[in-house]
Structure formats: structure tokens, C-alpha cells
């Protein structure tokens, strides 16, 4: 079964074979490395760019305006901050021209903590990304989701961001959640599509025949159903929420866990319907807590559902600090972890109205 980087690679292969992708590019994206996380190995349209994030995003916009579907990678989202005005412009090509233009481009960038990436390889991008109108924004939490969301981003006529949680790059699908057509045997798949160590100049991948799978942007996924509280998350913290829900089930607390997976458009009806049933909601993400995307979700919850709530709605997010420290205890203390998520869910479930 594919891990997340393999799933991304397979989606990109399908996109360049069947959906007209002409360029997959960025720093270390082409051979021999095929991406800092190996997500772009073996792809025929992958190439290495100058180490120039503004050039990368500018080129992506220009390619898009010329009708070339493309996937540009910023190697770590921490390095996308000097491209914010270009992203803002990408998001406004259609609106600014009153509908004359569209700009098909996908910005792919690894986000978040989990690899002891210190100050400049650990940042989240969801609060910043959702502050840029005109983009569709996806963030997967499983390889299958990555496959289907990335394909949807690519074929969308609008600019999109595909945020890849670094901590989940090597996670595999649960049984029953496979990508159609992928080999079940991990080693067999690795032999087919992972570049060998050493000289790769003559290596060619043998791609499994995986069909199109489009996971609609704007549709959340209920990972686990529950009656007692609603937990809404995405990216790295989503599987932690699901695990916490499992633990709490042993204590008689049934949590409903929703993977938002598309930050824009937001599947608010699904979230709202769940909160309507449970009356308790916890939003979890790891971006810094001040002006956090979860605060937007909280605001909508309070404005639209105040009188339906049994307990004060909560946000569990990253500490509002300039960076994430490298040492284990520093990273673990900076962003939500399984114990803090489990505690927050337990406390929320036990609030007496």
C-alpha cells in the first residue's frame, strides 16, 4: 500500500499522462533527487528550478496564464512567505479581470511540524493560505486523500494550494482505503516507483495502473461517527484526533471526528450538522493560535449556533511563538500532541451545562 509521498507521485504521474500537466517543478523536484521528500521521483515533466521562490511562483502563474497546467513546489512552506504577494495576485487573476482570465496552477508545499524541522522547516501555512482569496486549498491526512485531492487541485481551472503534512509523508492507508489499482504489497510498489539508491540515471519507474480519483474540493469527510462531541481537524492532527476518539470510546465518550481536508471551499454544512447533533465542538490544528483558521470556524459556530451549544466551543492550536524549537521537548510543547488533544476532548465532553 502506498504511503503519502508515493500516492502524490502516482497522482502526479496520472496528471501528466492524462490531465495535461506540463510542468512539475521547484527546488530539487527533478532528477536525481525527485523532491526533498521523494514525492516527484520518476515523473517525466519534473524539473529543477533555480533556488528562487518568487521565480517559482511567478513562473507557475505565467504558465497558468499560458494555459499550461502545472504543479510548482515550494520545498517547505516556511519559504513561501516571500511569495505572499504573488500568491495574492494568482488568487485575483480572475476577479481582477472581471472573469476574463483564469489561472490553472497548483502550489504544492509541505507544512507543519513532526520532523524536528526547527524554526524554518516546521511552520504551518493554513492560516496564511486561507487568508488569500481565490485559491482552493486542500490538505490530506491519508495517502488516498492525497491522491484524490491533488488530482482535483490539478484539474481545477483555479489556483489551488496542496498542503502536505510533513509528519504524514510516510503514513500508509488503512485497509479498505486503498488507492484503486495500487499493489497491496508495500515492497512490490516500492520496487516499481521508488528510485534506487546510487546511480538513478537509467532508472525508469513502472507505474501501477491507477484510475482517476477526484475527491471534490469543498467536501469534508467524517472519519468517525459519534454522539457526544464533534472534533474538526485536518493534516497532522487529524489522525491524532481519530486515535484520541478511540481511546475515549473506552471511557464511554463517543467523539465524531471530521477531516475538513479542504480548507477552502469549506464544507460548513457537514460541520454544522454534526455540531447540531452533538452540541460540543473542538477545532484542532497546529498553526499559531492568534488569527488562526480555527478561530474563523469558532466564529461561525458561535454566530450561527450559540443557542444550540451545550459547552463553550474550543480551539486547540499551536502556541503563538515565533518558531518551533528543534529539541524534542520544545517541538512537542509547541503544537498539539495526542495527550493534549485527548485531554481537550475529554474535558469538552465532561462540561456540565
Amino acid at each position: 500500500m502506498a504511503n503519502m509521498v508515493q500516492a502524490i507521485r502516482m497522482a502526479l504521474h496520472v496528471a501528466e499522462e492524462r490531465h495535461g500537466v506540463t510542468d512539475i517543478f521547484g527546488e530539487d523536484v527533478g532528477p536525481p533527487l525527485g523532491g526533498a521528500f521523494t514525492a516527484t521521483q520518476g515523473l517525466k515533466t519534473a524539473w529543477n528550478s533555480p533556488l528562487d521562490e518568487r521565480g517559482i511562483v511567478g513562473a507557475s502563474i505565467g504558465l497558468g496564464l499560458a494555459g499550461c497546467r502545472n504543479v510548482a513546489e515550494i520545498q517547505f512552506c516556511d519559504y513561501a512567505y516571500n511569495t505572499i504577494d504573488l500568491l495574492k495576485l494568482a488568487g485575483m487573476q480572475s476577479w481582477a479581470s472581471n472573469g476574463e482570465f483564469n489561472c490553472p496552477m497548483t502550489l504544492m508545499t509541505p507544512v507543519g511540524s513532526g520532523i524536528r524541522g526547527a524554526l524554518y522547516h516546521s511552520h504551518s501555512f493554513d492560516a496564511t493560505a486561507t487568508h488569500i482569496p481565490g485559491f482552493k486549498i486542500a490538505i490530506p491526512s491519508t495517502p488516498r486523500e492525497a491522491y484524490g485531492l491533488l488530482l482535483s487541485c490539478i484539474v481545477d481551472p483555479n489556483p489551488s494550494m496542496f498542503l502536505v503534512p510533513k509528519a504524514l509523508m510516510r503514513v500508509r492507508n488503512l485497509p479498505g482505503e486503498e488507492i484503486p489499482g495500487e499493489p497491496g504489497d508495500d515492497k512490490a510498489l516500492s520496487k516499481m516507483i521508488d528510485a534506487p539508491l546510487g546511480d538513478r540515471s537509467k532508472w525508469k519507474p513502472k507505474w501501477p495502473d491507477t484510475p482517476d480519483l477526484f475527491i471534490a474540493l469543498g467536501e469534508a469527510r467524517t472519519v468517525r461517527q459519534g454522539r457526544d462531541l464533534t472534533v474538526v481537524s485536518y493534516g497532522r492532527t487529524l489522525p491524532l484526533c481519530a486515535k484520541a476518539a478511540e481511546t475515549l470510546a473506552g471511557e464511554g465518550i463517543e467523539a465524531e471526528v471530521i477531516d475538513l481536508r479542504s480548507l477552502y471551499p469549506i464544507d460548513w454544512p457537514r460541520v454544522k450538522e454534526s455540531i447540531h447533533r452533538t452540541g460540543r465542538v473542538l477545532f484542532v490544528n497546529e498553526d499559531t493560535e492568534v488569527t488562526n483558521f480555527g478561530e474563523h470556524l469558532l466564529r461561525r459556530t458561535v454566530e450561527e449556533m450559540f443557542y444550540e451549544l451545550i459547552a463553550p466551543p474550543r480551539l486547540l492550536a499551536g502556541a503563538f511563538i515565533p518558531g518551533i524549537g528543534q529539541a524534542d521537548p520544545l517541538e512537542l510543547a509547541s503544537v498539539p500532541q495526542l495527550p493534549s488533544i485527548t485531554d481537550a476532548m475529554r474535558q469538552l465532553a465532561r462540561v456540565e451545562p
Binding site: D23, A59, I61, G64, G67, D85, Q93, W95, A96, F101
Partner: protein, 340 residues
């Protein structure tokens, strides 16, 4: 004033055919009258913020005449900045549409009343949305040029900006990406050098002798030309474009131009008297050559002034965009740039 930095020869000194001179002149007059109408609208409080290109007509008109307009990579992609009104007129744009944009009416065909005047967007001609940002177009140019390099043919990317904008990183990005030996790009990199960056003067920003000298370090062919002479501009542009079209490599053209009404509304949009006026210079030449009389030229200007005043009055009555449209076109259903 033409300075050749590398190997491309200078065009001949022969004058352009008379018909071409008259065509360029008419467009220059039209462009100037249009900008003066837009400035009048701003000053009357009957339009919004003004920024434009009066003083650059001698360069901008030939540029518009030489651009191969159309949609898609086989035609030229235009990444303009906000001083390109005369280029748009030379490409065939209706000047009345510029008045519509200045007034912010719903019928503004470029932005529907959303953006400032002289911020064009026209997919049918590959005129990509103009922004108020002074440098980003140099980054966008990389992408359209990659598409054109791959496509083959003779379509090129034309990017324009000012001398002040060359301080920004995107200008350096354009030089780096356009000159990579592995993939040189067909970009005509234009810098309209009016020696001002709003109120920062040339000495306040530039240690280099000429901006075109920066191209040298990248092996990019470059020239600095007198952008106030439309005949020089036409011939130099034609030659530079020919080079980019056929060699599929970049060329940097620095055109020395004037800024006759200051930077924008921000600096008052008042006429300046101490800079060369390209229109006056060209008209003196046409008169000397016996192609037009002073009277004919004055009448032509007066005719355009009256025409644009009339259009302005008419457009005052056109409806403004409805506030209910603010959410329109954030997203597209169709992939327009891919021909859907």
C-alpha cells in the same frame, strides 16, 4: 544615445516610411489626449486614481504596433505595467474603454470597475491583468515564456516596467530565469527609464551606469535607446523583437523616456516642463519634413480632445457596477486560458 552593449547591430538611420510616421504620430496624439482626459477626470473628482504614461508615447506606440496580438502561446504575451495606454491604443484598443475604466463604470471591459485606470486585462490579446505592483510582471513573464519556448513558433513574451521597479527581486528573477543556458527564454525585457521612482531620483537608487548593463552579467543582449524618438524606438524594437522571435533568447531594452505628469495622482498629476516632450520633438520633425503642418497637428489634437470630452460626458451616465457583484468571478467554472 543608442548604446550597444553586445553584438546586435544598430538599425539604419534612414527615416521610417512616411505613412508609418503619420500613423505613429496620430496614435501618439491620441494617446496624449487620452491621458490628459483621464487626468482631467481625476482632477474634477469625476474619476478615480490616475496613473498612466504621458511622455512615453514615442516608445509605447511603436511597441503596440509591433506586438503580434492574439490569444495563446503562438502570439505575444504582454505583461505590462500601468504606463502602457499608448501601447494598447496602437494595438487597437478603444480609447473610450480607458475612460470607462477611469470612471469605474460597469462597462469597463478590462476590470468591470474594479481596478484603477490603465490597468488592462484582455485575454483575446494575451494582455495579462496589469497590477499596481511594480515588479511582479517580471516573474510572470518567466512562465509564459517557458510555454512559448516549448511551443516553438515566433510568439514572445513582452514585459514592461520602470527603472525604479528594477530594484525589486523579480527583475533579478527574470534575468536569472531568462538566461539559464539550459533554457534561455524568449522575453523582451523592457525598462522604461524616466529616472524617477515616484520621488526617489535616479541618484537615490542607481549605482549602475545604465540598467541595461545589468544584462551583460547574464549574457543577455541589451541596449539603451532614446525612447523619446519614435523612429529610433520603432527600429530598435523591431530589431530586438526579431532577435527574440528567431533566436528564442531574451533581450533587454532600456528606453530613456520622460514622465510628463509626475508619477500619478499621488504626486498631483501636474504637468512638468523640464523634461523632453517626445510629441513636441516628433511634431517638429514632421513639420520640418513637410509631412504635416502645425495647423493640421493642432486640429488633430483638438479633435481628439473634443472626442474624449464627449465620451467622458456620455460615460458619466453609464451605470456603475452593482455592489451585489463583488463575489462574481472569484472562481472560474471554465478553463478559459485553455480554450474552454
Amino acid at each position: 544615445m543608442s548604446t550597444t552593449l553586445r553584438t546586435v547591430p544598430s538599425p539604419t538611420d534612414a527615416e521610417l516610411p512616411k505613412e508609418m510616421q503619420l500613423k505613429i504620430h496620430r496614435l501618439m496624439v491620441q494617446g496624449r489626449a487620452l491621458e490628459e482626459r483621464l487626468i482631467a477626470m481625476y482632477k474634477q473628482g469625476d474619476g478615480y486614481f490616475w496613473i498612466g504614461g504621458p511622455g512615453e508615447e514615442a516608445f509605447n506606440v511603436p511597441l503596440g504596433l509591433l506586438i503580434r496580438k492574439g490569444q495563446g502561446p503562438q502570439f505575444d504575451y504582454c505583461h505590462f505595467h500601468y504606463r502602457q495606454s499608448a501601447t494598447m491604443l496602437a494595438m487597437g484598443a478603444d480609447p473610450v474603454d480607458s475612460i470607462r475604466q477611469m470612471k469605474g463604470v460597469a462597462s469597463d471591459p478590462y476590470t468591470g470597475g474594479r481596478n484603477f485606470g490603465n490597468h488592462y486585462a484582455k485575454r483575446a490579446w494575451n494582455v495579462c491583468p496589469v497590477t499596481s505592483v511594480i515588479e511582479v510582471q517580471y516573474s510572470f513573464a518567466i512562465g509564459t515564456a517557458i510555454a512559448q519556448k516549448r511551443q516553438g513558433g515566433q510568439g514572445i513574451t513582452v514585459v514592461t516596467g520602470g527603472d525604479a521597479g528594477t530594484a525589486e527581486g523579480d527583475f533579478a528573477s527574470c534575468l536569472v530565469w531568462a538566461s539559464r543556458p539550459a533554457l534561455e527564454l524568449p522575453i523582451l525585457i523592457i525598462v522604461g527609464n524616466n529616472k524617477w521612482g515616484i520621488s526617489t531620483n535616479w541618484e537615490g537608487q542607481h549605482g549602475e551606469n545604465r540598467i541595461s548593463e545589468r544584462a551583460k552579467a547574464f549574457g543577455i543582449e541589451a541596449k539603451t535607446i532614446d525612447g523619446n524618438d519614435p523612429e529610433t524606438a520603432y527600429k530598435e524594437l523591431a530589431q530586438a523583437m526579431e532577435y527574440v522571435r528567431t533566436k528564442r533568447k531574451p533581450f533587454m531594452l532600456e528606453a530613456m523616456v520622460s514622465r510628463l505628469y509626475g508619477h500619478s495622482s499621488a504626486s498631483g498629476a501636474n504637468a512638468v516642463v523640464d523634461e523632453a516632450d517626445c510629441l513636441k520633438g516628433f511634431e517638429a520633425r514632421l513639420e520640418k519634413r513637410g509631412y504635416l503642418t502645425r495647423k493640421q497637428m493642432d486640429e488633430m489634437k483638438a479633435q481628439y480632445q473634443a472626442e474624449f470630452l464627449e465620451a467622458h460626458k456620455r460615460i458619466r451616465k453609464e451605470p456603475m457596477p452593482s455592489g451585489s457583484t463583488i463575489y462574481d468571478h472569484i472562481f472560474q467554472e471554465k478553463d478559459l486560458v485553455r480554450g474552454e
